[in-house]
């Protein structure tokens, strides 16, 4: 089984990104959407939490949500892959189960 986790809230405001990371198993994927994309930025108080988890988890971030919020791709933590809605669909299809961390 393989699992996709989605996170839609800023990690500076809520605990969902942290909780998702804690509950992701080696080989899982985590997609940041909506306000969750702030978690993909370099240089925040939560960036290290994401970087440290990259050995176990494949991180993805929604490009359209990044653009909406004015976050330049150059500011994204290295190793996080940017996807569009079609890429989001593909991630859901590729993984056996999707869990939304609300």
């Amino acid at each position: 089984m393989s699992q996709l986790h989605t996170v839609n809230k800023s990690p500076l405001e809520r605990n969902t990104l942290e909780s998702a990371i804690i509950h992701a198993i080696k080989g899982n994927a985590l997609l940041m959407i909506e306000d969750g994309v702030y978690g993909a930025m370099q240089g925040t108080h939560k960036s290290a939490m994401v970087s440290d988890a990259m050995d176990n988890i494949s991180f993805y971030v929604m490009g359209p949500d990044l653009k909406a919020r004015g976050i330049d791709e150059a500011r994204i933590i290295e190793g996080i892959k940017i996807v569009d809605y079609s890429g989001f669909v593909a991630l859901v299809a590729e993984h056996d189960v999707t869990q939304s961390w609300l």
Partner: protein, 135 residues
């Protein structure tokens, strides 16, 4: 109908402040009729949903916590509560409702439905599910 699926209901929010806990419980009750393999997970603030002694008269809302005790009668008896979430909130198993079920295959012996597990074990239960309902 396809074969039985593993359904996991994930409860991460406190009761009363928002309606998610109550409406999640309504899904569980309806879902119990569909004869799937059902598990409930309580983690993060979700552990507050099943604490003892709730009395909502003062806020004018309905106390739905007794309904959790009926879950055993609906064959919903795999209730996973995360140890780390309890610890962070200063709670222990004694603070939770005594949720039980009667085992038909064991002379209707009353058994505990709640299993307190680690975050690592919770992660495995999540990954082994076929469908995850998030509230």
């Amino acid at each position: 109908m396809p074969e039985t699926k593993k359904f996991l209901y994930v409860n991460r929010k406190a009761p009363y402040g928002t309606i998610y806990a109550l409406e999640a419980l309504e899904v569980v009750l309806i879902g119990a009729a569909f004869e799937q393999d059902v598990s409930l997970a309580f983690l993060d603030d979700g552990v507050y949903q099943i604490t003892k002694g709730q009395d909502t008269k003062g806020i004018g809302m309905k106390n739905f916590s007794p309904t959790y005790k009926a879950l055993g009668d609906y064959d919903v008896n795999k209730i996973y509560v995360e140890q780390e979430s309890l610890d962070a909130r200063g709670l222990t198993l004694d603070d939770l409702l005594p949720l039980t079920w009667e085992d038909e295959d064991d002379d209707w012996a009353e058994k505990d439905s709640i299993k307190v597990i680690s975050a690592a074990e919770m992660a495995k239960i999540m990954e082994q599910s076929d469908v995850v309902f998030s509230f």
